[in-house]
């Protein structure tokens, strides 16, 4: 049986991520205007943000498909991609050029969501395998 909490979490994560992406992009633009932002740092941050967006789309698609079709392979792949997303989120939380308080809040919420999803994915995989 598909895990309903996992599916709800995927849906909320999707909406939250759109919000996160737009806000982080706007804040990078704000930082580049207000603070001194050398070009290579700016390029690095923007590139990583777009990579994170692509990974997130992939992750949510695979996870949702695996949960609904009750297959463990896509769910496992989604779990692996979640690892990459976690690393990127930690980058935006700690290793970004300028970390504002808003960044800290957004990324912490995202990491919590990732944590819950990972737990639920593991239980779902365990349920599907057996």
């Amino acid at each position: 049986l598909s895990s309903l909490p996992l599916q709800i979490l995927f849906y909320i994560n999707g909406i939250y991520y759109i919000f996160y992406f737009l806000v982080t992009l706007a804040m990078i633009v704000y930082k580049s205007q207000v603070f001194g932002y050398p070009d290579d740092f700016l390029a690095c941050d923007l590139a990583l943000l777009f990579i994170m967006a692509i990974l997130e789309v992939l992750r949510l698609y695979l996870g949702s498909k695996g949960n609904l079709t009750e297959e463990e392979a896509p769910l496992g792949l989604s779990l692996a991609v979640t690892l990459g997303s976690v690393v990127l989120s930690v980058y935006f939380l700690v290793w970004q050029t300028y970390v504002l308080k808003a960044d800290v809040i957004l990324n912490s919420v995202l990491l919590c969501a990732y944590g819950f999803e990972s737990v639920l994915k593991v239980t779902a995989i365990a349920a599907f395998v057996s």
Binding site: P38, W95, Y98, L100, K101, A102
Partner: protein, 552 residues
């Protein structure tokens, strides 16, 4: 040893390390090892010094306020305690904004860039970049621009433009002028169409007067002017006139002034010293110089003279035109002469109406009698002074009447004296009125009044009294015209009032002296201006006629 010294020179010396601890940072601590007044953070001040302070000039020292939390050192004076003491608190300041900087991973983010220190390797580079009077952030781009401009100029025809120095065969046309002090400097070029007049001092001596170049005529007409810049067409400077000034200041115009007169020593004087040069340049409207003439004032110096004052001026005239100096544009400017003129015969027939001889000829200006030192009206040489706008003037002379003088010739002489040879009929209402616009010219109204009261006239109604004019009063009424912030003066009315008095027959041998006066008064008749405000815009909304169709 020289090797270590060279090595030390080559190593870049860095500036002092930046202080980032707020408790130790004090910007008002300027005196070393001494207490600065009202500087509460100064470590050199003792408690006794703090008790004498009135206020703290630096109340708080913080780090960058954009950080989420930073240290702040606050200094304040507790004036209620006896004696007053300084309070120092180290607190944490929190920035409540959600966009405060939590952390940065970019080291130079919030501090100034340390400047590059010059060493023996990069010194030449710095000198090239920053050694001139001005430098830009991107020095290389300047060089590229000037290289690109030069090839494109090759096909352009050159011409003089306003302000461009007038070129001669070797350098520029010089107009010596005082620089910093009043001594002449020969490096001032004359600019095209820039009318300049300068006065400066030159040091001379009688012994070496023929050796000093700058007092000889040749120096000023030696070089020939290029007709257009960068061309080979030359215009020679001709000598237009020479005026010789004697030692007591009297000037005489020389006839036959084509000869060059070099300075010569004569007895104990040196004559033919250049005291003034006046250049007149004629140009075409294509920016080409076609004629250049110079008028000289030559003088003489004695053995005691150590310096002379030279005056230079340059003026430009367009070819085939006669310049008409304006007295304002459009309103009259205070201090400029009134423009006046005559109406030629044939008005009001619709031929071209041109007022004759406007101000180019000195004798058709509006003038009044100029007082002379001997105050005798009949001996006056006819000296007249032009009427300047805004300047009220009064002048006069004394008239000695003897018994032998007849009425009619005396009246005519006095009238000529008061009004001048050619008293104009019209005065321009604006400073730049054109001769063709008849309505821009104000006719002069003539009035006659008699000095005697009515009672006296009634006593002698039948005696043919001789009335002689003794006073001319010109009243010019002007108004402010135009905008409130930049009002222009416009003449509205000019009235010339001649006051006459009865000349009583004198017994033979007796003399009488009566004063004759002429005056000019300018009266401002402008009504007080009221600023006009625009009406508030109204919103004009109307519903369409059939808006409430089914019901109305």
């Amino acid at each position: 040893p020289p090797e270590t010294r060279a090595a030390a020179w080559a190593r870049p010396r860095s500036g002092p390390a930046p202080v980032t601890d707020v408790a130790k940072l004090c910007v008002c601590d300027l005196l070393v090892a001494q207490c600065d007044v009202n500087c509460c953070c100064d470590p050199d001040c003792s408690a006794a010094d703090f008790s004498l302070f009135t206020t703290c000039s630096v109340p708080i020292v913080t780090g960058d306020s954009r950080l989420c939390s930073q240290k702040a050192a606050t200094y304040s004076l507790d004036v209620e305690a006896n004696p007053p003491e300084r309070i120092f608190k180290l607190t944490d300041q929190v920035n409540p904004s959600v966009f405060c900087i939590h952390a940065t991973n970019y080291k130079q983010a919030l501090s100034f860039r340390p400047p590059e220190m010059p060493t023996s390797e990069n010194f030449d580079l710095f000198l090239k970049r920053f050694g001139s009077a001005a430098f830009s952030a991107k020095p290389d781009s300047w060089n590229m621009n000037t290289d690109a401009q030069n090839p494109s100029d090759a096909n352009e025809t050159y011409r003089y433009e306003y302000g461009v120095p007038i070129q001669t065969a070797d350098a520029f046309l010089r107009l010596p002028s005082p620089v910093v002090s009043s001594w002449c400097s020969d490096a001032n070029p004359a600019g095209f169409l820039v009318n300049q007049a300068t006065k400066c001092t030159r040091s001379v001596s009688v012994e070496k007067c023929s050796n000093i170049q700058a007092v000889s005529m040749l120096f000023y007409i030696n070089s020939s002017i290029l007709a257009v810049p960068k061309s080979s067409q030359m215009v020679n400077i001709t000598v237009q006139s020479i005026v010789v000034q004697s030692l007591n200041g009297m000037r005489t115009l020389l006839n036959g002034s084509d000869v060059l007169r070099p300075p010569v020593t004569l007895d104990e004087l040196c004559i033919n010293i250049v005291l003034g040069v006046s250049y007149h340049i004629t140009y075409t409207d294509a920016g080409e110089i076609i004629e250049a003439a110079a008028s000289f004032v030559l003088g003489a110096i004695t053995k005691e003279a150590l310096s002379i004052q030279q005056s230079f001026d340059i003026s430009f005239t367009q070819v085939n035109t006669t310049p008409v100096p304006l007295s304002g544009n459009p309103g009259y400017v205070v201090g400029l002469p009134l423009r006046a003129g005559f109406q030629p015969q044939g008005y009001p027939f619709p031929t071209e109406i041109l007022f004759a001889a406007l101000n180019t000829n000195k004798y058709s200006q509006l003038t009044i009698l100029q007082s002379t030192s001997n105050q005798d009206c009949l001996a006056a040489q006819g000296a007249r002074t032009p009427i300047l706008f805004g300047y009220n003037m009064i002048s006069g002379c004394q008239l000695r009447i003897t018994a032998a003088m007849k009425c009619q010739p005396l009246t005519q002489t006095l009238l000529d004296l008061l009004k001048g040879q050619s008293f104009p009929e019209y005065v321009a209402s604006f400073g730049n009125s054109q001769a063709q616009n008849v309505l821009d010219w104000v006719p002069i109204i003539h009035l006659r009044t008699s000095e005697q009261s009515d009672n006296e006239r009634m006593y002698n109604p039948f005696q043919s009294a001789c009335q002689i004019p003794i006073s001319l009063e010109i009243e010019v009424k002007w108004t402010k015209y135009g905008s409130l912030v930049n009002p222009q003066a416009r003449i509205v009315n000019v009235t010339a009032t001649i006051t006459t008095t009865t000349l009583k027959q004198l017994p033979p041998g007796r003399e009488r002296t009566i004063p004759v006066t002429s005056s000019v008064v300018f009266t401002d008749i402008s009504s007080p201006a009221e600023p006009g405000y625009k009406a508030w815009p109204t919103i004009n909304i109307k519903l369409p006629f059939d808006f409430f169709f089914p019901f109305v």
